[in-house]
């Protein structure tokens, strides 16, 4: 978070421990410390990766899952952003909708899975709906919070200098709310993968989660482990992307300043 040089170094050191764990794991598998029925060795996972890559199955499933994740995210995120902005800016809108939204928020969205399956079967809509719902709340709550926590003194300053409402929004309110919106964004990305994994394991006929469930039926433990790892990687990728975006837009923030 401090300087780019430092963060590269830190990211580098951050990969040391996982590498070590993988080595130990391989060693334990080879020496028979871990039975192959419990856990596949890293080399077996790599082999499964190669096999599935060649057959095209892996790429297809990753593509399907990613497309689901992103479209659900875009739908839920933009609705969340919209309501967050509207309720942050207008008391009327907040009075109208906030209580309702907070009530819905208290339902764990994964508890809706049976209902969602009844509504949509195991079609795409089911996954989109769940992901969108899961992503909606962190974005909504944090956008609202961000706007409400914009320094009122700055808003007053903008008014004294004759800023119009739109100028005030783009120059003062939105930049002020952005750090909180990013917190929501990163949190939502986590929820996005989580929801998708659960939804795909339970109700899907394609995608990574489906691939893992199929593998379980045929006791292909290497493929199961592979799916889990890919989920982890995709999650990490999404988070890194969000952080890059954050770093670019929050350059002014003391926490992101480079020298």
């Amino acid at each position: 978070m401090k300087s780019t040089g430092q963060s590269i170094l830190r990211n580098g050191t951050g990969w040391l421990l996982p590498a070590l764990i993988i080595l130990l794991w391989e060693f334990a598998a080879r020496t028979g410390l871990i039975s192959p029925n419990v856990m596949a060795a890293p080399s077996a996972v790599a082999e499964a990766f190669w096999r599935l890559l060649l057959s095209g199955e892996l790429v297809r499933n990753i593509g399907v899952s990613t497309a689901r994740a992103l479209s659900g995210f875009v739908i839920g995120g933009s609705i969340g952003l919209f309501f967050g902005l509207a309720n942050g800016l207008s008391g009327l809108s907040r009075n109208l909708t906030d209580t309702t939204l907070q009530m819905v928020r208290n339902i764990p969205h994964l508890a809706l899975i049976p209902l969602v399956i009844l509504w949509f079967g195991i079609d795409e809509e089911a996954k989109l709906f769940l992901v969108a719902l899961g992503v909606f709340f962190p974005i909504y709550v944090n956008t609202l919070l961000g706007i409400q926590s914009v320094d009122p003194q700055l808003v007053e300053m903008g008014r004294v200098y004759g800023m119009s409402r739109t100028t005030l929004f783009f120059r003062v309110i939105l930049p002020g709310a952005l750090p909180a919106i990013f917190v929501g964004l990163r949190y939502a990305l986590g929820i996005m993968w989580l929801t998708l994994i659960v939804a795909e394991t339970i109700a899907a006929s394609s995608g990574l989660g489906y691939m893992a469930m199929q593998a379980r039926e045929f006791l292909l433990i290497d493929v199961v482990v592979l799916s889990i790892l890919i989920y982890a990687l995709l999650g990490k990728l999404a988070d890194s992307f969000a952080r890059l975006l954050e770093r670019l837009t929050l350059q002014w923030h003391p926490a992101f300043q480079t020298a």
């Binding site: 007053e156 300053m157 004294v160 923030h253 300043q257």
Partner: protein
Amino acid sequence: MSVIALNPKPDVPVKTARETAESRALRETTPTQWFPYATPQQRERDTRENAFSFRGISRKFGDKTVLDNIDLDVPAGQFIAVIGKSGCGKSTLLRLLTGLDKPTAGTLTVNKGENDENRTRIMFQEPRLLPWAKIAKNVEVGLTGIAKGTDAREKSLAILNEVGLADRAEEWPSVLSGGQRQRVALARALVAHPYILALDEPLGALDALTRIEMQQLLERIWLQQRFTAVLVTHDVSEAVALADRVIVIDHGKIALDLDIPLERPRRHGSPELARLEGQILDTLFGEKSG
């Protein structure tokens, strides 16, 4: 009220306290009681136009009367300082002047200067810079609706040069010191050549040395630009060092309206200043029972 507000002609020698027993009695009677005298002996009118005038301005918050029937005329180009105890309504006065708040009674006339735009600016106790805008961009906020693009850029760089921060134009506010940030805020307030500049304890948070530096900067720029300055301060010596006129607010009224007809630049700690300071402090703390 009007009697204590006599303004000397420039050639009249320094006046001593104008708060006589007679004028106090007059001030403490209600307007209806004054009736025969109610057409006040006019405060000797300056030939200059008024930058703004308060006529019977009151501001209540609930039951609490913060400003009570204030009358105040400030000629264009005057440097007036407002002093009073904490919570007496100084900020409220400035908020009324800058249109951030509306009076509960009375009329407020604010002149807009030559160009018809609103050129009333306020500088707050805090710099209130946008943390997400570079210094020059922050100064350009002062030109909202007045100038854009390279024009705004040039103007903001010129005024930054004036406050001694031209080389920091491309930095984030978070890397500046408190005094520097306040100078950026001053530059932002001045960049559009305000007609009235209201300053709400802008130097309150600064250390003594930076404060004196800022006072000199403020005085220098005021002498150049000749805007009307309304400075709210807790610091009596700052008030007499900078202002042409000092008013003391107490219990919602103007308790003292004192001219400071001293040559500039004024020397801190001169006996004249000390005497005027004493007079203001007396109004604030002394002679209440008498």
